[in-house]
Protein backbone atom coordinates (compact mmCIF):
# COMPACT_ATOMS: atom_id res chain seq x y z
CA UNK A 1 0.00 0.00 0.00
CA UNK A 2 1.20 3.49 -0.87
CA UNK A 3 2.20 5.37 2.25
CA UNK A 4 1.04 8.84 3.29
CA UNK A 5 4.02 11.15 3.17
CA UNK A 6 5.33 13.57 5.80
CA UNK A 7 7.14 16.38 4.05
CA UNK A 8 9.09 18.99 6.00
CA UNK A 9 9.14 22.37 4.29
CA UNK A 10 12.27 24.43 4.65
CA UNK A 11 12.15 28.10 3.66
CA UNK A 12 15.44 29.38 2.30
CA UNK A 13 16.49 33.02 2.30
CA UNK A 14 20.02 34.01 1.23
CA UNK A 15 21.29 30.40 1.63
CA UNK A 16 19.92 30.14 5.18
CA UNK A 17 16.97 28.10 6.35
CA UNK A 18 14.37 30.44 7.80
CA UNK A 19 10.81 30.27 9.12
CA UNK A 20 8.05 32.69 8.17
CA UNK A 21 4.67 33.32 9.73
CA UNK A 22 2.04 34.05 7.07
CA UNK A 23 4.81 34.64 4.53
CA UNK A 24 6.39 37.41 6.64
CA UNK A 25 9.00 38.03 9.39
CA UNK A 26 11.79 35.52 8.68
CA UNK A 27 13.71 33.89 11.59
CA UNK A 28 16.90 31.94 10.83
CA UNK A 29 16.60 28.28 11.89
CA UNK A 30 19.73 26.67 10.39
CA UNK A 31 21.54 25.43 7.30
CA UNK A 32 19.35 24.01 4.49
CA UNK A 33 21.47 20.89 3.88
CA UNK A 34 22.08 20.09 7.56
CA UNK A 35 18.43 20.54 8.41
CA UNK A 36 17.45 18.38 5.44
CA UNK A 37 19.76 15.59 6.56
CA UNK A 38 18.48 15.78 10.11
CA UNK A 39 14.85 15.50 9.00
CA UNK A 40 15.67 12.72 6.57
CA UNK A 41 17.36 10.74 9.37
CA UNK A 42 14.33 11.37 11.58
CA UNK A 43 12.05 9.74 8.99
CA UNK A 44 10.96 12.49 6.59
CA UNK A 45 9.66 10.97 3.34
CA UNK A 46 10.57 13.89 1.15
CA UNK A 47 11.70 17.51 1.52
CA UNK A 48 10.45 20.74 0.02
CA UNK A 49 12.70 23.80 -0.12
CA UNK A 50 11.00 27.11 -0.73
CA UNK A 51 13.55 29.60 -1.99
CA UNK A 52 12.10 32.90 -0.98
CA UNK A 53 15.24 34.80 -2.02
CA UNK A 54 14.44 34.33 -5.65
CA UNK A 55 10.75 34.98 -5.58
CA UNK A 56 10.72 38.05 -3.35
CA UNK A 57 13.79 39.86 -4.62
CA UNK A 58 13.55 38.59 -8.16
CA UNK A 59 17.14 37.34 -8.02
CA UNK A 60 18.58 34.40 -9.85
CA UNK A 61 18.08 31.20 -7.89
CA UNK A 62 21.27 30.25 -6.11
CA UNK A 63 22.46 26.74 -6.79
CA UNK A 64 25.25 26.12 -4.32
CA UNK A 65 23.03 25.21 -1.36
CA UNK A 66 21.00 22.91 -3.63
CA UNK A 67 24.15 21.01 -4.58
CA UNK A 68 24.97 20.62 -0.90
CA UNK A 69 21.48 19.28 -0.18
CA UNK A 70 21.91 16.76 -3.00
CA UNK A 71 25.18 15.61 -1.40
CA UNK A 72 23.67 15.21 2.06
CA UNK A 73 20.16 13.92 1.47
CA UNK A 74 19.11 10.51 0.11
CA UNK A 75 15.38 11.09 -0.15
CA UNK A 76 13.61 13.09 -2.87
CA UNK A 77 13.56 16.86 -2.59
CA UNK A 78 11.79 19.64 -4.43
CA UNK A 79 12.87 23.23 -4.89
CA UNK A 80 10.20 25.86 -5.40
CA UNK A 81 10.41 29.63 -5.66
CA UNK A 82 11.38 32.05 -8.39
CA UNK A 83 11.25 29.51 -11.20
CA UNK A 84 10.23 31.24 -14.42
CA UNK A 85 11.71 29.42 -17.38
CA UNK A 86 12.60 25.99 -18.75
CA UNK A 87 16.22 26.98 -18.21
CA UNK A 88 15.49 27.47 -14.48
CA UNK A 89 14.06 23.93 -14.41
CA UNK A 90 17.14 22.58 -16.13
CA UNK A 91 19.57 24.31 -13.77
CA UNK A 92 17.73 23.22 -10.62
CA UNK A 93 17.45 19.60 -11.78
CA UNK A 94 21.10 19.61 -12.77
CA UNK A 95 22.05 20.99 -9.34
CA UNK A 96 20.39 17.88 -7.89
CA UNK A 97 16.74 18.71 -7.19
CA UNK A 98 14.38 15.82 -7.95
CA UNK A 99 11.37 18.05 -8.53
CA UNK A 100 10.90 21.70 -9.36
CA UNK A 101 7.93 23.76 -8.27
CA UNK A 102 6.38 26.68 -10.12
CA UNK A 103 3.82 29.08 -8.79
CA UNK A 104 3.49 32.64 -10.13
CA UNK A 105 5.22 31.87 -13.44
CA UNK A 106 2.72 29.11 -14.22
CA UNK A 107 -0.22 31.42 -13.49
CA UNK A 108 1.30 34.05 -15.79
CA UNK A 109 2.16 31.57 -18.54
CA UNK A 110 0.44 28.18 -18.08
CA UNK A 111 2.23 26.71 -21.15
CA UNK A 112 5.34 26.52 -18.96
CA UNK A 113 3.78 23.42 -17.35
CA UNK A 114 3.29 21.70 -20.72
CA UNK A 115 6.82 22.51 -21.80
CA UNK A 116 8.43 21.37 -18.55
CA UNK A 117 6.45 18.11 -18.48
CA UNK A 118 7.32 17.26 -22.07
CA UNK A 119 11.04 17.88 -21.54
CA UNK A 120 11.62 16.62 -17.97
CA UNK A 121 8.58 14.42 -17.31
CA UNK A 122 5.52 15.11 -15.16
CA UNK A 123 7.10 13.50 -12.13
CA UNK A 124 9.38 16.48 -11.58
CA UNK A 125 6.85 19.24 -12.25
CA UNK A 126 5.20 20.50 -9.07
CA UNK A 127 2.56 23.22 -8.96
CA UNK A 128 2.76 25.55 -5.99
CA UNK A 129 -0.71 26.84 -5.34
CA UNK A 130 -1.42 29.53 -2.72
CA UNK A 131 -5.11 29.84 -1.94
CA UNK A 132 -7.18 32.42 -0.10
CA UNK A 133 -10.86 31.90 0.70
CA UNK A 134 -13.46 34.35 -0.55
CA UNK A 135 -16.11 34.72 2.14
CA UNK A 136 -19.84 35.20 1.83
CA UNK A 137 -21.51 37.80 4.04
CA UNK A 138 -22.52 35.15 6.58
CA UNK A 139 -18.85 34.19 7.04
CA UNK A 140 -18.96 30.90 5.15
CA UNK A 141 -16.52 30.20 2.32
CA UNK A 142 -17.79 30.78 -1.20
CA UNK A 143 -14.70 29.71 -3.09
CA UNK A 144 -10.91 30.01 -3.04
CA UNK A 145 -8.79 32.24 -5.26
CA UNK A 146 -5.21 31.76 -6.40
CA UNK A 147 -2.60 34.16 -5.00
CA UNK A 148 0.83 34.69 -6.52
CA UNK A 149 4.13 36.38 -5.63
CA UNK A 150 4.45 34.69 -2.22
CA UNK A 151 0.89 35.43 -1.31
CA UNK A 152 1.05 39.14 -2.12
CA UNK A 153 -1.07 39.30 -5.29
CA UNK A 154 -4.52 38.01 -6.10
CA UNK A 155 -4.71 36.50 -9.59
CA UNK A 156 -8.52 36.28 -9.39
CA UNK A 157 -8.37 32.69 -10.66
CA UNK A 158 -10.51 29.97 -9.09
CA UNK A 159 -8.34 27.45 -7.21
CA UNK A 160 -10.15 24.27 -8.36
CA UNK A 161 -10.26 25.34 -12.01
CA UNK A 162 -6.59 26.27 -11.95
CA UNK A 163 -5.59 22.99 -10.26
CA UNK A 164 -7.48 20.97 -12.89
CA UNK A 165 -5.98 22.96 -15.75
CA UNK A 166 -2.47 22.60 -14.29
CA UNK A 167 -2.87 18.82 -13.94
CA UNK A 168 -4.01 18.54 -17.56
CA UNK A 169 -1.11 20.64 -18.73
CA UNK A 170 1.52 18.52 -17.00
CA UNK A 171 1.83 19.23 -13.29
CA UNK A 172 2.62 15.94 -11.52
CA UNK A 173 1.76 17.08 -8.02
CA UNK A 174 0.25 20.09 -6.23
CA UNK A 175 1.42 21.72 -3.01
CA UNK A 176 -1.59 23.65 -1.81
CA UNK A 177 -1.08 26.28 0.86
CA UNK A 178 -3.99 28.07 2.49
CA UNK A 179 -2.65 31.53 3.13
CA UNK A 180 -5.09 32.34 5.93
CA UNK A 181 -4.09 29.11 7.74
CA UNK A 182 -0.34 29.29 7.20
CA UNK A 183 1.64 29.65 10.41
CA UNK A 184 -1.54 29.86 12.52
CA UNK A 185 -1.22 26.32 13.98
CA UNK A 186 -4.98 25.86 13.93
CA UNK A 187 -5.04 23.03 11.38
CA UNK A 188 -4.93 22.64 7.62
CA UNK A 189 -7.69 23.93 5.37
CA UNK A 190 -9.27 20.46 5.29
CA UNK A 191 -12.30 21.60 3.32
CA UNK A 192 -10.14 22.93 0.48
CA UNK A 193 -7.83 19.90 0.47
CA UNK A 194 -10.83 17.56 0.27
CA UNK A 195 -12.36 19.48 -2.66
CA UNK A 196 -9.00 19.42 -4.45
CA UNK A 197 -8.45 15.69 -3.80
CA UNK A 198 -11.95 14.95 -5.09
CA UNK A 199 -11.52 17.01 -8.25
CA UNK A 200 -7.89 16.61 -9.28
CA UNK A 201 -6.21 13.37 -10.37
CA UNK A 202 -2.66 14.11 -9.19
CA UNK A 203 -1.27 13.89 -5.64
CA UNK A 204 -2.09 16.77 -3.28
CA UNK A 205 0.36 17.92 -0.62
CA UNK A 206 -1.54 19.82 2.06
CA UNK A 207 0.31 22.84 3.39
CA UNK A 208 -0.23 25.54 5.96
CA UNK A 209 -1.62 25.38 9.44
CA UNK A 210 -0.37 22.23 11.17
CA UNK A 211 0.15 22.88 14.87
CA UNK A 212 -0.59 19.56 16.53
CA UNK A 213 -0.64 15.86 15.71
CA UNK A 214 -4.42 15.70 15.24
CA UNK A 215 -4.22 18.25 12.43
CA UNK A 216 -2.10 15.86 10.39
CA UNK A 217 -4.29 12.78 10.85
CA UNK A 218 -7.32 14.97 10.09
CA UNK A 219 -5.99 16.17 6.72
CA UNK A 220 -5.34 12.53 5.69
CA UNK A 221 -8.59 11.09 7.03
CA UNK A 222 -10.96 13.89 6.11
CA UNK A 223 -9.10 15.79 3.42
CA UNK A 224 -7.72 12.70 1.61
CA UNK A 225 -4.35 14.42 1.17
CA UNK A 226 -1.51 12.30 -0.26
CA UNK A 227 1.11 14.11 1.77
CA UNK A 228 1.23 16.62 4.60
CA UNK A 229 3.71 19.44 4.73
CA UNK A 230 5.01 20.29 8.18
CA UNK A 231 7.09 23.29 9.16
CA UNK A 232 6.85 25.15 12.48
CA UNK A 233 5.68 21.97 14.28
CA UNK A 234 9.11 20.43 13.75
CA UNK A 235 11.35 23.46 13.21
CA UNK A 236 10.92 24.62 16.80
CA UNK A 237 11.35 21.15 18.23
CA UNK A 238 7.80 20.78 19.53
CA UNK A 239 7.42 17.49 17.68
CA UNK A 240 9.74 15.03 15.94
CA UNK A 241 8.84 13.32 12.68
CA UNK A 242 8.94 10.00 14.52
CA UNK A 243 6.28 11.31 16.92
CA UNK A 244 4.11 12.42 14.01
CA UNK A 245 4.43 9.02 12.37
CA UNK A 246 3.68 7.17 15.60
CA UNK A 247 0.49 9.19 15.94
CA UNK A 248 -0.50 8.38 12.34
CA UNK A 249 0.16 4.67 12.94
CA UNK A 250 -2.02 4.80 16.04
CA UNK A 251 -4.70 6.28 13.80
CA UNK A 252 -4.31 3.37 11.32
CA UNK A 253 -2.93 5.68 8.62
CA UNK A 254 -0.27 3.92 6.48
CA UNK A 255 3.15 5.54 6.88
CA UNK A 256 6.74 4.54 6.23
CA UNK A 257 8.43 3.69 9.50
Amino acid sequence: MLKKRIVPAIDVLDDKAVKYVQFRNPTIIGDPAELGRKYSEDGADELIYLDTTASLKNQEVKYEWIRRVAEEVYIPFSVIGGVRTIEDFRLLLRAGADKVGVNSAAVNRPELLNEAASIFGKQCVVLGLDAMPIMREDGTIERWEVYTHSGHENSGRDVIEWAQEAAERGAGEIICTSIHKDGMKTGYDVELIKILSDNVSIPIIASGGAGKLEHISEVFQEGYADAALVASMIHYGHYSIQQIKQHLMDEQIPVRI
Binding site: M1, L2, K3, R5, S40, D45, A70, E71, Y74, I75, P76, L93, R94, G96, D98, F120, G121, K122, Q123, C124, G172, E173, S201, I202, P203, D226, A227, R256, I257
Partner: protein
Protein backbone atom coordinates in the same frame (compact mmCIF):
# COMPACT_ATOMS: atom_id res chain seq x y z
CA UNK B 1 35.24 -0.10 -10.13
CA UNK B 2 31.54 0.44 -10.76
CA UNK B 3 30.61 1.60 -14.25
CA UNK B 4 27.55 3.83 -14.45
CA UNK B 5 26.05 3.92 -17.92
CA UNK B 6 25.67 7.59 -18.92
CA UNK B 7 23.17 8.18 -21.69
CA UNK B 8 21.83 11.48 -20.34
CA UNK B 9 19.47 9.95 -17.76
CA UNK B 10 18.15 12.30 -15.09
CA UNK B 11 19.08 10.33 -11.98
CA UNK B 12 22.70 9.59 -12.89
CA UNK B 13 24.08 12.14 -10.43
CA UNK B 14 22.10 10.90 -7.46
CA UNK B 15 23.08 7.29 -8.19
CA UNK B 16 26.70 8.40 -8.46
CA UNK B 17 26.51 10.30 -5.14
CA UNK B 18 24.95 7.33 -3.34
CA UNK B 19 27.72 5.00 -4.58
CA UNK B 20 30.35 7.52 -3.50
CA UNK B 21 28.73 7.83 -0.08
CA UNK B 22 29.00 4.04 0.30
CA UNK B 23 32.71 4.32 -0.40
CA UNK B 24 32.93 2.59 -3.78
CA UNK B 25 34.77 4.10 -6.74
CA UNK B 26 32.67 4.67 -9.85
CA UNK B 27 33.16 5.86 -13.40
CA UNK B 28 30.76 7.18 -16.02
CA UNK B 29 30.62 5.25 -19.25
CA UNK B 30 29.48 7.59 -22.00
CA UNK B 31 29.98 5.44 -25.09
CA UNK B 32 30.99 2.04 -26.36
CA UNK B 33 34.68 2.95 -26.77
CA UNK B 34 35.23 2.78 -22.99
CA UNK B 35 38.04 0.28 -22.29
CA UNK B 36 38.94 0.55 -18.57
CA UNK B 37 38.31 -2.43 -16.33
CA UNK B 38 35.01 -2.41 -14.46
CA UNK B 39 33.62 -4.92 -11.97
CA UNK B 40 29.94 -4.23 -12.41
CA UNK B 41 27.49 -2.00 -14.22
CA UNK B 42 24.60 0.20 -13.17
CA UNK B 43 22.03 1.33 -15.73
CA UNK B 44 20.10 4.27 -14.21
CA UNK B 45 17.13 5.87 -15.88
CA UNK B 46 14.34 8.39 -15.78
CA UNK B 47 12.45 9.22 -18.93
CA UNK B 48 10.99 7.54 -21.99
CA UNK B 49 11.88 3.97 -23.01
CA UNK B 50 12.09 4.66 -26.73
CA UNK B 51 14.35 7.69 -26.32
CA UNK B 52 16.53 5.85 -23.82
CA UNK B 53 17.00 2.87 -26.17
CA UNK B 54 17.84 5.21 -29.04
CA UNK B 55 20.47 6.95 -26.91
CA UNK B 56 21.97 3.63 -25.79
CA UNK B 57 22.11 2.37 -29.39
CA UNK B 58 23.54 5.59 -30.85
CA UNK B 59 26.28 5.78 -28.22
CA UNK B 60 27.29 2.16 -28.71
CA UNK B 61 26.29 1.40 -25.13
CA UNK B 62 23.89 -1.43 -26.03
CA UNK B 63 26.76 -3.33 -27.61
CA UNK B 64 29.09 -2.39 -24.76
CA UNK B 65 26.70 -3.76 -22.12
CA UNK B 66 26.21 -6.95 -24.12
CA UNK B 67 29.96 -7.46 -24.31
CA UNK B 68 30.42 -6.87 -20.57
CA UNK B 69 27.52 -9.07 -19.49
CA UNK B 70 28.85 -11.83 -21.77
CA UNK B 71 32.05 -11.60 -19.69
CA UNK B 72 29.95 -12.21 -16.57
CA UNK B 73 29.84 -8.61 -15.25
CA UNK B 74 26.79 -8.08 -12.98
CA UNK B 75 24.28 -5.44 -14.10
CA UNK B 76 21.76 -3.47 -12.00
CA UNK B 77 19.01 -1.49 -13.74
CA UNK B 78 17.21 1.25 -11.81
CA UNK B 79 13.67 2.46 -12.65
CA UNK B 80 13.58 2.92 -16.43
CA UNK B 81 16.95 1.14 -16.44
CA UNK B 82 15.20 -1.92 -14.98
CA UNK B 83 12.42 -1.78 -17.55
CA UNK B 84 14.99 -1.75 -20.35
CA UNK B 85 16.36 -5.10 -19.15
CA UNK B 86 13.23 -6.85 -20.47
CA UNK B 87 12.45 -7.68 -24.08
CA UNK B 88 9.85 -5.10 -24.89
CA UNK B 89 8.08 -2.01 -23.47
CA UNK B 90 4.60 -0.75 -24.24
CA UNK B 91 6.02 2.75 -23.87
CA UNK B 92 6.51 3.79 -27.48
CA UNK B 93 6.23 0.07 -28.43
CA UNK B 94 9.97 -0.21 -27.87
CA UNK B 95 12.28 -3.20 -28.31
CA UNK B 96 14.50 -3.28 -25.23
CA UNK B 97 17.73 -5.01 -24.20
CA UNK B 98 16.16 -8.44 -23.66
CA UNK B 99 18.40 -9.70 -20.84
CA UNK B 100 15.32 -11.07 -19.09
CA UNK B 101 12.23 -12.42 -20.79
CA UNK B 102 9.09 -10.38 -20.36
CA UNK B 103 7.28 -7.15 -21.18
CA UNK B 104 6.87 -3.71 -19.60
CA UNK B 105 3.21 -2.67 -19.38
CA UNK B 106 1.43 0.59 -18.64
CA UNK B 107 -0.32 0.83 -15.27
CA UNK B 108 -4.07 0.82 -15.57
CA UNK B 109 -5.46 0.60 -12.09
CA UNK B 110 -8.94 1.76 -11.17
CA UNK B 111 -9.16 4.42 -8.47
CA UNK B 112 -5.39 4.77 -8.29
CA UNK B 113 -3.36 7.71 -9.45
CA UNK B 114 -0.79 7.20 -12.21
CA UNK B 115 2.16 7.70 -11.96
CA UNK B 116 2.56 5.50 -8.90
CA UNK B 117 4.50 8.02 -6.83
CA UNK B 118 5.72 7.81 -3.26
CA UNK B 119 6.84 5.22 -0.72
CA UNK B 120 5.51 1.70 -1.05
CA UNK B 121 6.35 -1.71 0.34
CA UNK B 122 8.57 -4.21 -1.44
CA UNK B 123 8.11 -7.79 -0.26
CA UNK B 124 11.16 -10.01 -0.62
CA UNK B 125 9.93 -13.01 -2.64
CA UNK B 126 13.13 -14.94 -3.45
CA UNK B 127 15.70 -14.08 -0.76
CA UNK B 128 17.81 -12.62 -3.56
CA UNK B 129 21.10 -11.14 -2.31
CA UNK B 130 20.02 -7.67 -3.48
CA UNK B 131 17.51 -7.53 -0.58
CA UNK B 132 19.83 -9.20 1.91
CA UNK B 133 19.75 -7.87 5.51
CA UNK B 134 16.59 -5.88 4.80
CA UNK B 135 13.24 -6.68 6.48
CA UNK B 136 10.83 -9.02 4.63
CA UNK B 137 8.91 -5.93 3.57
CA UNK B 138 10.72 -2.63 3.15
CA UNK B 139 9.49 0.77 1.95
CA UNK B 140 11.17 2.23 -1.11
CA UNK B 141 10.51 5.37 -3.16
CA UNK B 142 8.71 4.88 -6.50
CA UNK B 143 7.90 7.16 -9.45
CA UNK B 144 6.66 5.33 -12.53
CA UNK B 145 3.75 4.79 -14.93
CA UNK B 146 4.92 1.45 -16.39
CA UNK B 147 5.78 -1.79 -14.64
CA UNK B 148 7.63 -5.00 -15.48
CA UNK B 149 5.98 -8.32 -16.22
CA UNK B 150 8.77 -10.93 -16.30
CA UNK B 151 7.85 -14.14 -18.09
CA UNK B 152 9.38 -16.40 -15.45
CA UNK B 153 8.20 -16.39 -11.86
CA UNK B 154 11.72 -17.06 -10.58
CA UNK B 155 12.85 -13.70 -11.98
CA UNK B 156 10.51 -11.83 -9.63
CA UNK B 157 12.58 -11.04 -6.55
CA UNK B 158 10.40 -8.29 -5.03
CA UNK B 159 6.65 -7.66 -5.12
CA UNK B 160 4.66 -4.47 -4.53
CA UNK B 161 0.95 -3.82 -4.38
CA UNK B 162 -0.57 -0.82 -6.11
CA UNK B 163 -4.12 -1.77 -6.99
CA UNK B 164 -2.64 -5.11 -8.01
CA UNK B 165 0.60 -6.89 -7.29
CA UNK B 166 3.49 -6.15 -9.64
CA UNK B 167 7.18 -7.08 -9.89
CA UNK B 168 9.10 -4.22 -8.26
CA UNK B 169 12.45 -6.04 -8.24
CA UNK B 170 13.51 -8.58 -10.87
CA UNK B 171 16.57 -10.54 -11.79
CA UNK B 172 18.73 -13.62 -11.79
CA UNK B 173 22.23 -14.13 -10.38
CA UNK B 174 23.83 -11.65 -12.80
CA UNK B 175 21.21 -9.33 -14.25
CA UNK B 176 18.91 -7.51 -11.84
CA UNK B 177 16.75 -4.45 -11.65
CA UNK B 178 14.57 -2.44 -9.31
CA UNK B 179 11.58 -0.33 -10.27
CA UNK B 180 12.01 1.99 -7.28
CA UNK B 181 14.83 4.47 -6.66
CA UNK B 182 17.29 3.05 -4.10
CA UNK B 183 19.34 6.25 -4.42
CA UNK B 184 16.32 8.16 -3.06
CA UNK B 185 15.11 5.61 -0.52
CA UNK B 186 17.16 6.63 2.51
CA UNK B 187 19.02 3.98 4.51
CA UNK B 188 17.17 1.01 2.99
CA UNK B 189 18.10 2.17 -0.50
CA UNK B 190 21.75 2.64 0.42
CA UNK B 191 21.75 -0.87 1.92
CA UNK B 192 20.42 -2.35 -1.34
CA UNK B 193 23.07 -0.54 -3.39
CA UNK B 194 25.70 -1.74 -0.93
CA UNK B 195 24.48 -5.32 -1.40
CA UNK B 196 24.96 -4.97 -5.15
CA UNK B 197 28.42 -3.38 -4.83
CA UNK B 198 29.59 -6.00 -2.32
CA UNK B 199 28.41 -8.78 -4.58
CA UNK B 200 30.74 -7.71 -7.34
CA UNK B 201 33.64 -7.66 -4.88
CA UNK B 202 32.82 -11.24 -3.97
CA UNK B 203 32.86 -12.22 -7.65
CA UNK B 204 36.20 -10.47 -8.04
CA UNK B 205 37.67 -12.41 -5.10
CA UNK B 206 36.68 -15.80 -6.52
Amino acid sequence: MIGIIDYGAGNLHSVEKAIKRLGYPSVRIEDGTFTNVIDQLILPGVGHAEQAMRQLDERGLTTYMQRKTDEGIPLLGICLGMQLLLEKSEEGDTSCLGYLQGTVREFSVENQKVPHMGWNEVADSQQHFLLKDLPDTTDFYFVHSYHAEPKHQEHIIGLTNYGHEFASAIGNEQIMGVQFHPEKSGQAGLKLLDNFCRYAKKVEAC
